[in-house]
Amino acid sequence: MSFLEYAPAPESRAILNLRDAYGLFIDGEFVDGTGESFATISPADETHIATISSASEADVDRAVAAARRAYDKTWSKMSGRDRGKYLFRIARLVQERARELAVAESLDNGKPIKESRDVDVPLVAAWFFYYAGWADKLDYAGLGADPRALGVAGQVIPWNFPLLMLAWKIAPALAAGNTVVIKPAETTPLSALVFAEILQQADLPPGVVNIVTGAGATGAALVAHPDVDKVAFTGSTGVGRAIAKETAGSGKKLTLELGGKAANIVFDDAPIDQAIEGIVNGIFFNQGHVCCAGSRLLVQENVHDEVIARLKDRLSTLRLGDPLDKNTDIGAINSREQLDRIRALSKIGEEEGAERWTADCVIPENGFWFAPTIFTNVQASHRIAREEIFGPVLSVLTFRTPAEAIAKANNTPYGLSAGIWTDKGSRILAVADRLRAGVIWANTFNRFDPSSPFGGYKESGYGREGGRHGLAAYLAPGSSAPRSRQTALTAGATASASARATRSAKKPALSKKEAKR
């Protein structure tokens, strides 16, 4: 027998206690949505997992109203220290139910259990712990004394890291004193709904976090809702652009975390074996469904052949298959739609003349799968060098000098992340200084920490998540009233009503809906 055909080591699904159908989580309760409900499936075998409610415009309205009530009556009046207690409690519950959350995530998303278990869920807990600590220290967030919360945050998150993106959004929002209406992606609502149970377990006051499931229309209704003070979105640049237009002039504060086409730059003096690992981790982590993925490998021409040969050898050892098997390295593509896009762009890559190499692995019959693929001989003008593929597809380009590497790395409409591989410390600093990307990794890739701000340049969005900077997205300086902290505390309801009035006056298109209420 071949030892490398490791016997199956599946993580048990028995720990999951799923319901057949999930409602919306509004005001601390699961309630039925009035939209047409939909099914969430496992992308690994296309089996049905659960029926999910879809939030109509009216449901979104209900959720925002609940968030507003919770903000006015409870959350904005609570001391930072008490808010922190809730966040610490949530963090601990995430740790307690870590295995359950990991299984739910891998089942619904298709990512390997080793990633959901070792990366996603531990980071979720870390994010809540980190921001729990900030809740009573907002005076030191860099916005002066007594910064104030914004109010109700409407948050729309993607399907690639469903629970982690939820944590990135909810933890700083709550720490800063906002209440939340969040919409998970329609293909991956499951972990958010398990998380809703954790919120109940944590006894979080009703309405502080509301979870509305649904498709694009639900997200659009949330973003457009006049009583939302802050919009946070992570997803595609196209949708981000639409949201920016929608919210322009509304007075809503906006942060966008969008696409990327990150350059992973390998110099000829790189620690070669670790660089190969970094390239693999950069683009094949989470099937390449990572906005900061190192999808453009810029390799110094004099080591190109060696790097590619080693990379192919390494990719041949990756294990593609059942996401719940503990030895799986590459899981399923999240949806048929995404699979089609990856296939289409890969085909374009071939047509444009790039050389395709795909790891030889057995593809399961059902489900959505794409074997790790690299394109060599890619030119800067090729679409696969410019467009975000969001899949396990690496485009390899070459450069000759550091200056050329920097120029090529920056030559993209995006600017989310970049990687530098060299044994020379001074070169790391010099190159990092000239890269226009929000996150730059040196001799590593795709590492995240709650204390480190994350965000992009150019079409990769604006605003930062994580760290002290991440708080700024959910706070206004204390002196910049219309609503001072003082008023918010004593007469929050009136103040927010007047703020709403100001906004609807500015944006007449919304006044009809306002009037209806």
Partner: protein, 335 residues
């Protein structure tokens, strides 16, 4: 067993190095190797350590681990009786299960070689044939602080007494002082001392004592140096210095062996030694070998564990797989 005819060794080294193996040439070559990023290396090793080896794979792995063990006793208090006991265990690891495979070799001090050979009797031979080899530590083990003449005599004695494998130590002091030529020369000379009367060679394992070289860059360079000079195996440690074998260190040495194979087509063995005490740890090494150089390396001529207490833990795990229940320390023998 020896990987190459000795005559070609210096020529090949000269060709690869582009000059005589003196300090300057070796320095240029070894310092021209790609560096090692410690964080990345350790991360990769930790990743390999998370593989989940279950059921049939685990059963195969446990037997394979036994077949790859150099069952070792290296104490000042070693006696002929202790060596006989070790040999008995090597031949019949699990007293209750005759189907249990034998270990690859027993590893003893040079003066104990005759006792080991005598105790093995007809079972002495190549592990490929189901027999058990005798490995002897030599060259003023563990410190290596002796004159070259003594190191060579130490080696020749053990070979003459019937040792099939010589575990030598490099001169770490010379290595750290940058005297790569001296280290190279000593390895090459010890290799010559491994020559038997019939012209064949005892296999040479070169112990780097990674715990004293300290940095991964050093370990990588010492690995290349040892292979260039003619070592058949590179071995992490004597077991007398902490840390002894670690998974990242072994991974790094396996990467060197893989690169050497790619460059020359030759297969060099790797032996982590010291500190591997549990089946769980040993399986991580097995995974690391298979996923770094390939399954082909999982054979006694290309991979060994230098261990003593590991064997009993593997036997307990093996019994558990067969019976479904853990037995206990009294169900394996103390030797």
């Amino acid at each position: 067993m020896s990987r190459t005819a000795l005559q070609t060794l210096p020529e090949r080294a000269v060709e690869l190095l582009g000059g005589e193996p003196d300090d300057t040439t070796l320095r240029r070559y070894l310092h021209g190797l790609a560096g090692v990023d410690a964080v990345g290396l350790e991360q990769r090793a930790a990743g390999l350590g998370t593989r989940s080896i279950k059921t049939t794979s685990k059963a195969w792995a446990l037997d394979k681990i036994i077949e790859l063990i150099d069952l070792t006793t290296l104490e000042g208090a070693d006696t002929p009786g202790k060596v006989r006991s070790l040999v008995a265990k090597a031949l019949n690891p699990d007293a209750a299960d005759p189907t249990c495979p034998r270990v690859a070799a027993v590893c003893v001090y040079g003066d104990m070689v005759p006792h080991a050979v005598a105790a093995l009797g007809a079972a002495h031979g190549d592990p490929d044939d189901g027999l058990v080899s005798v490995a002897a530590v030599a060259t003023a083990f563990p410190s290596g602080r002796a004159s070259l003449e003594i190191k060579l005599a130490d080696t020749a004695d053990a070979v003459a007494d019937g040792a099939d494998e010589i575990d030598m130590v490099i001169d770490r002091g010379a290595f750290l002082a940058g005297r790569y030529g001296l280290v190279f020369d000593q390895i090459a000379r010890v290799k010559q001392a491994c020559r038997r009367a019939d012209g064949s060679y005892a296999s040479l394992k070169v112990i780097l004592e990674t715990g004293e070289l300290t940095t991964y860059d050093n370990i990588k360079r010492a690995s290349w140096l040892s292979i260039l000079a003619g070592g058949d195996f590179i071995k992490t440690s004597t077991g007398k210095v902490q840390p002894a074998a670690t998974l990242p260190t072994t991974l790094l040495m396996l990467e060197v062996v893989r690169d050497w194979h790619r460059a020359t087509g030759e297969k060099i063995g790797v032996k982590p030694a010291g500190g591997i005490r549990t089946s769980k740890d040993a399986i991580k090494y097995l995974v690391t070998v298979a996923e770094t150089v390939g399954e082909e390396w999982l054979q006694p001529h290309l991979f060994r564990y230098g261990a003593s207490s590991l064997l009993n833990d593997v036997l307990l795990q093996r019994q558990k797989l067969r019976t479904g229940a853990y037995s206990g320390a009294d169900y394996v023998t103390i030797d």
